[in-house]
């Protein structure tokens, strides 16, 4: 899986680095000063690297916890995100990560304890008010868990923080570390889901919808609060038929009392990232659709976007209560 392991000198002997080295014994190990030497050079091609990404082990020094974008919320007033990892093992064509970084290599920050401290400090700043933390912003929360062990490490921190909620956003079926511990009411496991046809066409290297639903059901049965993320909704001529059938299929598996939240948003992306992605994947059908640029964002033409949101919202509200549905819109 990992053919090259770059390790910063500062964390070369770190126990997590040593454990990961043992896991990838066959990998070529290359020491570096700072991860940016490998991750940031200009003359790189994300698409070529995505064929065989390397893993970079690094130390993060600051900005462990950051305010979440306004549209990134599931009902809380205080929303933050953190990224123990940059980049994702999946290859979803609509993901902004495909246009954000020059490199497709994965960066894993191994100083987890510094994240814990920052989470605790941020939570304390808000007194007793509820604070939401999103972990699946610059990576999938669970996909590399067997290697990183980050979630296994960090859940005990949240278990002690009554007024902190963590969202694990994932397309992964790596749920064993969750099933091995007691469910936590303040940990929402949110599955990103798309209709099978779209998943097959656009979400490369991800588990199929049926497997994700299986994982979801297991967690739901074990008592974990479940989130559903229908974001991005993708336009195609038959989107109504696809999404209508898909929502029905998903909600057949959902116990509404276990459902924490559902979020819904149509495909949208900052203009700069979009231009990078189109250069990398000019032959991608997704980008040949009825997209328009507006206010530094690219999304579907406004009337179409409104129509898609309205249709999906209406369809979902036949299956779930309105108070659990959150619409993600970049102009929020």
């Amino acid at each position: 899986m990992i053919e090259t392991l770059y390790i910063e000198h500062a964390v070369y002997e770190h126990p997590r680095s040593q454990a990961i080295r043992k896991r990838f014994r066959h990998a070529s190990v290359v020491p570096c000063e700072r991860y940016g030497e490998v991750f940031n050079p200009k003359a790189q091609n994300f698409r070529l690297q995505k064929q065989q990404p390397a893993l970079i082990l690094a130390e993060k020094f600051n900005r462990f916890v950051l305010p979440a974008p306004l549209s990134y919320n599931i009902g809380g007033q205080h929303n933050y995100y953190f990224s123990h990892m940059l980049n994702c093992i999946y290859d979803c064509r609509y993901c902004f990560l495909q246009g954000m970084y020059r490199s497709a290599n994965y960066v894993l920050f191994v100083n987890y304890e510094d994240f814990d401290q920052s989470i605790e400090r941020t939570t304390a700043q808000h007194g007793g008010e509820q604070v939401y933390f999103f972990s699946g912003y610059d990576c999938d929360s669970l996909a590399l868990e067997p290697v990183s062990g980050f979630i296994e490490h960090t859940l005990p921190t949240f278990r002690q923080l009554d007024n902190a909620v963590i969202e694990l956003r994932t397309k992964s079926t790596q749920i064993r570390p969750l099933l091995e511990v007691d469910a936590m009411p303040n940990c929402v496991v949110a599955f990103s889901l798309s209709p099978d046809v779209l998943s097959h066409a656009l979400e490369h290297k991800t588990p199929p919808l049926s497997k994700r639903l299986d994982a979801l059901v297991k967690l739901q049965t074990a008592g974990w609060p479940i989130g559903l993320r229908f974001d991005p909704v993708i336009y195609c001529d038959n989107y109504r038929e696809l999404y209508s059938r898909f929502f029905q299929q998903v909600f057949q598996h959902i116990r509404l009392e276990r459902l924490h939240s559902v979020s819904l948003g149509v495909f949208r992306m900052p203009q700069g990232f979009y231009r990078n992605i189109v250069k990398r994947y000019p032959d991608e059908k997704l980008f040949a659709g009825p997209l328009a640029e507006s206010q530094a964002m690219v999304s579907y033409e406004t009337p179409l976007e409104a129509e898609m949101l309205a249709y999906c919202r209406e369809t979902l509200l036949q299956l779930m209560p309105e108070e659990k549905l959150f619409i993600c819109h970049e102009n929020d």
């Binding site: 570096c32 003359a43 097959h200 059908k285 009825p290």
Partner: protein
């Protein structure tokens, strides 16, 4: 097209023979050998010479994003003579700047760090290959191509048991000849990656349209993107004959836009 840089004629000879490269007449300062798929330049010793050779070779063509490979010999304290290694890190011993060639294909040989030194090093203090060109080659070739298709391979010619002053041109020729199968595998892999990269550049139909109509620079960008969208939605390239009635570039762009919007957009097999 792959560009190969070697420092010495004796490093180049096995490749010239194997790939049947023809020498060009009367070059200014560098000897270049080529066939339809490959250009090889003999740079001379040292990183400045290697950098100059890369720039000279690139100047021979208007195309960008060629694959590049630096082939040569180097020393290591203990590795056996004749072992071929692909660089996973290149450090300029003069200024300590490092480059990390990304590996996006299965390496046909082991990988190791290289150190580009300014004069021959016979102490072999660290576990790396000591050589004299890679830093100049890599820094320069990466100005013209993406790092994934710029690679350096070195064959061990000397070690503590077999010092560098005993290395002769026939010996270099022999050890490179013995590794031509691995070098060839590397070249094939680089060609494959270069072809993948080419898919990210202008669509094939662009030139056909530009030969038939005049487009301003801004219209050329529009046209390029429209032809990509056409191909993405139709699964085939646009045929200029379909727009034969258009009087100018502006009309072609308008018709392309209209027709793309009329194409069905589905992600299942019915598309």
């Amino acid at each position: 097209m792959i560009h190969i840089v070697t420092a010495l004629p004796c490093e180049a000879k096995p490749l010239i023979r194997h790939y049947r490269l023809n020498g060009r007449q009367a070059e200014n300062g560098f000897r270049i050998y080529e066939n339809s798929d490959m250009r090889l330049i003999v740079s001379g010793i040292g990183k400045i010479a290697a950098a100059a050779a890369c720039a000279y070779l690139q100047g021979q063509t208007t195309d960008r994003q060629h694959a590049w490979l630096n082939v040569g010999v180097g020393g290591h304290r203990s590795l056996p003579i004749g072992e071929l290694l692909l660089a996973n890190k290149i450090t300029d011993a003069g200024n300590h700047v490092s480059w990390y060639p990304p590996l996006v294909f299965k390496a046909p040989c082991p990988r190791l760090a290289l150190r580009s030194v300014d004069s021959p090093d016979t102490e072999y203090r660290d576990d790396c290959v000591y050589e004299m060109e890679a830093a100049g080659f890599y820094a320069t070739a990466c100005r013209f191509s993406s790092m994934e298709i710029v690679q350096v391979c070195k064959i061990i010619s000397d070690n503590r048991a077999h010092p560098a002053d005993k290395v002769t041109p026939p010996r270099v020729d022999a050890i490179i000849t013995a590794r031509l199968d691995m070098i060839d595998a590397l070249i094939q892999a680089l060609n494959t990656q270069q072809a993948l990269l080419a898919q990210q550049t202008a669509p094939a139909a662009l030139n056909l349209f530009m030969e038939k109509w005049r487009f301003s620079v801004s219209q050329q960008h529009q046209l390029q993107r429209l032809l990509q969208r056409w191909q993405a939605r139709n699964g085939e390239t646009a045929d200029p004959q379909m727009f034969a009635a258009a009087h100018n570039g502006k009309a072609v762009i308008k018709q392309l836009q209209q027709q793309i919007e009329q194409h069905p957009l589905r992600f299942d097999d019915a598309s």
